[in-house]
Structure formats: C-alpha cells, structure tokens
C-alpha cells in the first residue's frame, strides 16, 4: 500500500461529494462503495495513522520484553482492557484514557475503544454470520421496542455483495435462522470437536455445531493471501489474510483515485442548515493542533462506531433541537444494546492423547441459537443465545494449576495434556428505552468536549436467559462426553461484549426512531448512520457483517438518490 491516498493535508480541499466519519469496518465499506461509484470522498479518522504491514507486530513471544504479559503501567491507563485484549503486543492499540478522556459511568460499563486508522476492524473477532427474519421480525411479533423497517429479503443481496469481497470461510448448513452465504471453503474441526459434534447431535436431538464462519481467507484473493495459521490477527496480518479496512476496503477505495483521508481529525458535529433541512458538512477538530475546520459535502456517512456516531449527532444542530440532530423522536441515545457474555464452561475430553493440533486456526466452533426457535419455546425469557468455543490440548501453562515440582513435573508439563472443551455463550440483549447514553456536559475530554455518560444494564430478560445459557452449556458439555465440567459466570457489564448497538435506531416512524429504512436520519436525510448505532434489535449473532451489508445498501440508495437529485 502506497502513501498516495493518504492526503494528510486534506484541509487544502474543503469540499467533497461525500464525507465518511470513521475508518473502521463500516467507514471502510462506505468509503469503498462511494468512491467506486465515482464520488469524491473524504474519510475522517480521529486517531492516528496505522499502516498495513508497516505498522504490524511480527515479534515472537520470546522477543517481547514481558513475554506478552501486559504491564501494570499500560493497564491502568486502559481500565476497560481485560483478558484476551490485555496482551503486551496489542496494548497500544487500545485507547489510553489519559490521552483520549474517560467517560462517565452511571452504571458499570466497559467501552473498548481503538482510535487509529482502521478502528476495530484490525482487532475484531472476525466471526461473520447473517441475521435472519427470526431477528428482523422479533420486535414486531413480541411487541418489543419498534419494528425493524427491513426484512431479510431487503438485506440478503447486500450480504451476497459484501461476502464476495470480504472472503468469509464457512460451511453451508441450510439453517433458515442462520442463512448460508457466499462462502470460501470452511476451516476444519479438530478431531475432538468432530467427536463432540457427533455426540451432540446424537444426544441432543440433532443439535448443530459447526466450524465458525470467519472473515479469514482459506483461499487467496486479489492482493491478499490465505491464512497462514499463526492466529495473531490482532497484531496485524502481513498476509492480509483477514478482512480489515487496511487489508481490503482502503486499498479498494484508494485505487479509484477518489479518496482523501485525514487522520487525527475528530468530527465534533454535523453542520446543519435550517433552511434546507439538510447537513452541509462537518466540523473537524485537528487533535494535534487544536484547530477546527469545516468540510462541506452533499452527504455525510456517520460510521464512528455506535456510541461515537450518536455522540456526534448529540453535538449537532443543538440550536434547533436541544438533544441534537436526530433527537426529535426522543430515542437518540436510547436502547443501548450489546451481547452479554462472560459465561463459560470447560470440560475435559478423555482419550485423544495421541492426537494434537498443528497450526493455530483463527476460529473455533459455533453452536447456533436453538432457544425459542421453531417449536422450542422457553417461558422464562424472550430471544436466545449462541455459543463459540472449541477443543484444545492443554499446554505447559496447566502446570500453574497442578501440584508438584522438579524434573518429573517439568517433563510431564512439557508434553501435551488433556484435551479440553471450552464453550462461551453470547446472549441477545433486548432494546430497552431506559438503557441510555447521554452527554455529560460537566465532564470534558482533553479537547473540552462533553463526554458520554453510560446508563445501561442487563435487565430481567437477560438475567433469566443467563441461567439457561449456563444450564444448556453444561448439558452440551455432558453430551460431548466431557468430564469435570467447570462453570464460570463472571457477570456482564454492558459494553464488554464489544458489540455495542442501538442509540440511533432504524424504524418506520420518525416519531419513534432516529433513522429510516435506508439509514437516513429522519431529521436530515443526507446524513446516514450505518454502524452499530442503527440497530433496532441486537440478535445474538455477531453484528459486523450486518453493518457492512447495511452500509453498502445505504450507499447504493444515497448515490441513486443523488443521481435523481433527491438529496
């Protein structure tokens, strides 16, 4: 990737056809689609540069000062960064609160932010699943919140469109509630997972388990190699084997010659014109010089991540609406959702001592939702949950939890240990008006801007679901044939799923929703919000692929509308 497309002095050119706020998964897609349709696009990223290959980490664990263990000094400035995120080699990827500001917690919240080019597209889990009408119809059928303004048929062609470009590996399973897509060949279950898959189907009435569908290539595509089984995606993939802005959408957008990109450019508000009732552009704060600029455009795509896109709206047009642009419905900032997790089981799988796994697969197993699907009816809660996990052979680190020391102990733990099966549940969070974010004008970030205040928690439906998530997890471990099953429920603060959704929901009525069926802000139709903020419900299925499809769909609508001079 050359430097050509990075126009760090974008201030010379103040007028574009379209402005894209944010460079993560949604922003990358917006930029690619808009530039490929011939629009001159400015992409704005609040964080710094982070270049494909050049800025990736290639060290082996023994070359690292702390052998991959995060230091306390790095951790205390990033209190939200825990467990798998908390690794020496990725710590600097996450937001340093002393530099970027805290947020206010009315209720405990975890906001896992990465402010740099590519956003969290370089740090995501890459699990990629289609949503279905089980999700899109749920609110209407159950009388929860408001109805989605779209159905599966509206988004299906856009799933096709994005999957072909992203490269999703997976197996076709013929499930109507987890539709098949345009798949590359799947990764393979290991020998223990294959046995567990068979046992699960036999013992639990055909229950399904298959390899996780991921945005990691199993075959090379143009400009990207297939996965080399390092499983070091979070440090950046030199082979471009997983989908990120850097590996995929940014090169495609750059190739058109239509993209300008400015980093260290914090969008403070959308500029709104009262007479035309449209946005005219955005105001940008250069985080290095503290100077502000105004960029003009015909359309604006807000793709700053769910909560930050809503933050921008809340700061915009406050002279017209006190609560900001999109607040006329009273729903802006409301209905914060996530996937609740931190609920695990481990079980020991006997046998298989003479088998091991070579290579680090970048995905595990997936068990699709079965609760409240078809004839399965649960009385204690609405919606459902899915599981990720897999089987792995224990390595030397098991020695920390084993009695003993000395030469025989060392000899023993240097050999492969037992295989263990790990299941992690992901549950749906219902949209609830009382789960909200607001602007905290008392507390300011380092640039003097109001910070977000988080007031959201799991409610009765989620708590009832969690009990069942654990019971089902144990039942499935037993069905696998696992022994010594351990249950761990660490509770869930909202945000910790890093699937934050809602706060600017789509809907059918401007009185009860912020966005229409094409992701246009009802109050300013040339402003589109296509990241997690737009979601009307949360499903239990990983959301990123849906953001991509909704973004491509909205771009298509926006460009068609521009052609017809309707925007």
């Amino acid at each position: 990737m050359s430097d050509i497309y990075i126009n760090l002095d974008a201030s010379k050119d103040m007028t574009y056809n379209a402005i894209v706020v944010g460079s993560g998964i949604s922003g990358g897609w917006a930029a690619k689609e808009l530039t490929e349709k011939g629009l001159k696009v400015l992409m704005l990223e609040r964080g710094g540069d982070y270049r494909h290959v050049r800025d990736y980490n290639d060290s082996s664990v023994f070359e690292r000062e702390h052998r991959s263990k995060a230091t306390i000094a790095e951790s205390i400035i990033r209190p939200d960064i825990v467990t798998w995120m908390q690794k020496e080699q990725v710590m600097k990827s996450w937001v340093d609160e002393t530099k970027e500001g805290k947020y206010t917690e009315v209720k405990p919240f975890k906001w896992v932010r990465s402010y740099r080019l590519g956003g969290r597209s370089t740090l995501w889990g890459r699990q990629s699943y289609r949503w279905s009408d089980l999700d899109f119809e749920a609110n209407a059928k159950e009388g929860i919140a408001v109805d989605w303004p779209i159905r599966y048929k509206d988004i299906a062609p856009w799933y096709d469109h994005v999957e072909k470009f992203v490269g999703i590996s997976g197996s076709a399973e013929g499930l109507s509630h987890l539709p098949d897509g345009q798949f590359l060949p799947p990764f393979e279950l290991n020998i223990v997972e294959k046995q567990a898959q068979k046992n699960l189907a036999e013992k639990l009435n055909g229950r399904r388990m298959f390899i996780g569908r991921v945005a990691n290539l199993t075959k090379p595509v143009e400009g990207r190699l297939n996965c080399q089984f390092r499983n070091r995606c979070w440090e950046g993939c030199h082979f471009g084997a997983y989908f990120s802005t850097q590996s995929s959408t940014l090169p495609a957008a750059a190739k058109t010659g239509n993209l300008s990109l400015a980093v260290n450019s914090l969008v403070t508000r959308v500029l709104y014109d009262k007479d035309s009732k449209k946005a005219t552009g955005v105001e940008v704060l250069d985080t290095e010089t503290n100077q502000t600029y105004e960029y003009k455009s015909k359309i604006v795509f807000l793709c700053a991540s769910a909560l930050n896109s809503t933050w921008v709206l809340m700061n915009s047009a406050t002279d017209v609406w006190e609560g900001g642009l999109g607040s006329s419905s009273g729903e802006l900032g409301h209905n914060v959702m996530d996937h609740h997790y931190n609920l695990l089981t481990y079980g020991r799988m006997e046998g298989f001592k003479d088998y091991a796994e070579f290579g680090n697969r970048p995905t595990g197993i997936y068990i699709p939702r079965f609760a409240n699907v078809g004839n399965d009816k649960r009385t204690a809660y609405l919606r459902g949950f899915g599981y990720q996990g897999g089987a792995a052979k224990a390595d030397w680190s098991r020695g920390s939890n084993m009695p003993g020391f000395g030469a025989d102990f060392l000899d023993d733990i240097s050999k492969g240990g037992d295989w263990n099966f790990r299941l992690m549940a992901f549950g749906e969070v219902l949209p609830d008006h009382s789960n909200k974010i607001t602007l905290d004008r008392e507390n300011k970030d380092p640039w003097g801007l109001p910070v977000l205040s988080m007031d959201a928690e799991l409610k009765a439906n989620e708590m009832a679901m969690r009990k069942d998530m654990m019971e089902e997890s144990v039942a499935m471990q037993e069905a696998f044939g696992a022994k010594d099953i351990i249950r761990i429920d660490q509770g869930h603060d909202m945000g910790h799923g890093i699937h934050e959704m809602g706060t600017a929901r789509m809907g059918r009525d401007p009185k009860t929703s912020v966005l229409n069926s094409n992701n246009q802000v009802w109050d300013a139709p040339n402003v589109f919000v296509t990241d997690g903020a737009c979601m009307t419900s949360a499903s239990c299925v990983n959301p990123s692929l849906t953001y991509m499809a909704l973004t491509a769909r909205a771009v298509n609508f926006a460009v068609e509308s521009l052609k017809k001079q309707e925007l």
Partner: protein, 183 residues
C-alpha cells in the same frame, strides 16, 4: 469484585488442572474486573531477590538430561522483570511478604514442598492458602517456557505454521509445540 475476593475466587478454581491459563495469566484477576486505576502505590523492585527467585525457579524447574534448568535460561532475570512490571503493588506486596519467609539455602527445597502441598491441598482454607506461591509458580513457568531456547529447542515452536492439521497423530510422550500461545 475487590481484589481480595478475586484472589479467593481464583484459589477456588485451583486444583482444576485443565483450566487454560487465560484466567490466571492476567495476574490473579478475573476477566470481568476492571483494572484498578486508584492503585498508585510505589512499585517494588525485585532485583535484590534475584538469587532467591532463581533458586526457587530451579527447584520447580530443574536441569535434567532432557531440559535446561531455570537458571541455565536466565529465568530469574525474566521473572524479576515480570514481577517488577506486570503485577499491581498489592500483588507485589503479597509476593514480597511470602519471599521474606524463605531463604536461599539447603532448606529451600523443603519449604517449596510444604508451600506446594498447602497451596494445592483442597482442605486448606481459602484464606490460609499461600497465594503468593501460586502466583510465583505461574510466573516461573511463564518465564521458562517462553524462553527462546526452550521454545525452539526443547519444544517445537514454528513461527508461521502455514497449514492446519486438527487430527495430527503424535507420540503422547513427545514434547509439544506451544500452539495457542503467543497470540
């Protein structure tokens, strides 16, 4: 959950030999707990304990015909770096206090045997477990098994596997590649 409770929480999980390191490797901190930003106590420097720490490491992971020992791979220096930089001051104080009860000499192996037995004995009340020993043992294993010589010569580290085989036949007695680690 406060840290004292979290240590108890972890200790109740101890003895479950098959739990992956992920729960423990973050320094006795369960996943859901945020890093305590109010902890501003001065960090302890464990350099002065290098000799004792190296001896404890060598007792737990001694040289043999099949392995270099903890001292031969300079495990003590690595351990000091980890203890200095990767543990909260509260955890450091706990470890330092534990080390004060030990002296480098002939009786050390016997002391380690007692600590190991007490730590893993399910009948030891949670508040009487030598938690410092569990933390130390974990850090000793990390220092040793992530050493370049151990990873590449004793185990079989491959930086870029290039392929995946989930059903690879192996000799259960053979030393294993450290897959899954390092990411």
């Amino acid at each position: 959950m406060d840290r004292r409770k979290s240590l108890q929480y972890i200790s109740t999980l101890m003895g479950a030999s098959f739990i992956s390191a992920e729960l423990f490797i973050t320094g006795c901190k369960p996943a859901a707990e945020k890093t305590d930003v109010s902890d501003t106590t001065e960090n302890i420097n464990f350099s002065s304990e290098l000799a004792l720490l190296s001896s404890i490491g060598e007792i737990i992971l001694p040289a043999s015909g099949k392995h270099p020992g903890f001292k031969a791979v300079n495990g003590g220096e690595m351990l000091v770096t980890l203890l200095n930089d990767c543990y909260t001051s509260e955890q450091q104080q706990m470890i330092q206090k534990g080390l004060k009860g030990l002296s480098d000499g002939e009786g050390l192996a016997g002391e380690i045997a007692k600590l190991d037995a007490a730590y893993f004995d399910a009948t030891t009340p949670a508040d009487q477990k030598p938690v410092f020993y569990g933390a130390l043992k974990e850090a000793i294993l990390l220092s040793y098994f992530t050493n370049e010589k151990v990873m590449t010569e004793v185990l079989s580290y491959v930086k870029v596997p290039g392929k995946h085989d989930g059903s690879m036949k192996v000799d259960p007695e053979a030393y294993t590649t450290v897959y899954g680690f390092g990411a």
